[in-house]
Amino acid sequence: MSQFLQATIYGLLQGGLLALIAVGFSLVWGVMNVVNLAHGSFVILGAYVGWKLNSAMGLDPFLGMLVAAVVLFAVGYVLQRWLINLVINGPIFITLLLTFGLDLLIVQGMNIVFSADYRSINTSYAGDSLALGSVRVPVGRLLAFVIALVVTFALVALVNRTRTGLSIMATGMDRGAARLMGIRARHAYALTFAIAAALAGMAGTMVGTVGTFNPAAAGGYTLLSFVIAVLGGLGNMYGALVGGLLIGLVEAWGGQYLPGTWVNALAFAVLVLVLVFRPSGLVGRAYYAARQEV
């Protein structure tokens, strides 16, 4: 029983972090119909920023992640505004390939700059854990989890309440109409991508704090973002949250009760089944279901 509880707690905490990683990915996909294969490399890039700040000037990662967010925001904005926008109207595999090229570039770049050594951001407290009876709740992951939730809700608020957010949504739903309303699509897109990158960066710093990372780890986070975005229904930010938690739990439980490493197959099985039986995602319908290029 305590085993089950432990796994559940751990899965939930992990899931929160995954959600924060995936929510931006989902937003980009929903708004501009771009599947960003370089998303995972943003996560790792963020982790390196946090790590550098921590190892160079001893900045606490939970502050460092704000810097990471700013840096990645800038990177994201530039990439979208002056590169991805160049092919945004192309068939899907054009954008897929472009972002794949970006991924190669960033990952290999990090290899050259930071080397392929495994890194981890050390804090005095992140490794400690609160004991609830037989169950342990690791402090670092708990913090990350809470932040992930807060940021996700903040994002939803931003998108639904502020002018910027609305302009993004509008552009996502109907670019033509948005333009008529005087929204500059290029800017709106660049903002969307920048926000996604910033969130990935923050998440990355936390990933680096609770775990280990090196450039090669980027691909895994991109894949997870896929699964979660689809589960939640693309562009649906609450959906991404639910999807993240769900995957966290599925993997924790699967790890407990499946033999060998079958758990790895689990996430993908879920992905394919959801796509086949409920392509608009588990959580209501995707904001942009209409934009599946039918």
Binding site: L86, P91, F93, L98, I112, L275
Partner: protein, 351 residues
Amino acid sequence: MSSEARTEDAEAIERAATGRSAREPAWRRWLPFGLLLLGVLVMLGLQSQLYSGQERTVSAIFMFVALAQGWNIIGGFTGYASFGQVVFFGIGGYFTAVAMSHWGFNFWVSLVVSGLVSAAFGALIGLPLLRLKGHYFAIATLGVAEGMREVVTNVPQLTGGGAGISVPTVGKDATTHYLGNDGFYLLYLLVAALSVLVSILVARNKFGFALRAIHQDEDAAAAMGVNTTRAKVSAFALSGLVTGLVGSTYAFQQVTIFPERLFDVDITVLMVVMVVIGGSGTVLGPLLGAVALQFLSEYLRRNFTEVHTFILGAIIIAAVVLLPQGAVNYVREARQSGEWSLLANVRRYRL
């Protein structure tokens, strides 16, 4: 989407140029086949010029020609971007390895059966997945491929799991003796030629018409009597067949294979890159793309040992931005419109 439409128009001008009139002279109908034959002969002649290791390098080019052509059937002609295409490569490879090491099949039987098994698998997953469009199909197939890798990893008694599986190639339990670089050069050449042949046939026969129609407008195709479900599934199975044959050959050549490599998403991506850079939906594009990209990456690897993937990434980005429609289509359009400037070309997909 209107944007889609705009891009299609561009392709239209080009493809219409190839629109055959009813009164096509016989010799022209046979030309592509003749050229294919010529190409094969040239490659056979070339073999004598190569060292054993270069044969292997060139074999790798043949391999990717076949892989690119395989992807082009579903991704290029039919317009369904399969991002899990490597699953057929893996299944073909593992079926061959398992059949040869556990069930005493000889290679040639395994080769054929592996192809058929991959095709069957394509049909099987095609039925549900081909109802999905665009990114959804892309990601569903990706999921299948990644999942299949884990499955293979988790049945070690059959596949050797993460430790890999070895095909017996020497001694008494070798069902077929190892072919050596000479043999594999010929085998890969055969497979590549076969894939091009399939591609030529698809491009010009009734079936190809159906696929192109589906690519352009699935509703209209159905309304004109095309059984779109059957056509799509057949296309997926056919591309699975080609890809599976390559996987089988690869497994025998490698002797020992591992799940990470046989289901490596990079292989899928390479297929797509080659087709897109060469020109999707054409026979020539994938051929050109595969040859060009293989030469390029080989050259980079030899001369920029440390940073070659970095450079490759940059080149892919440049290619995608400058030649989004692929070299072949770009040249055709330019011929039609007389507009050769790449910058003008960039405008096509720009926001």
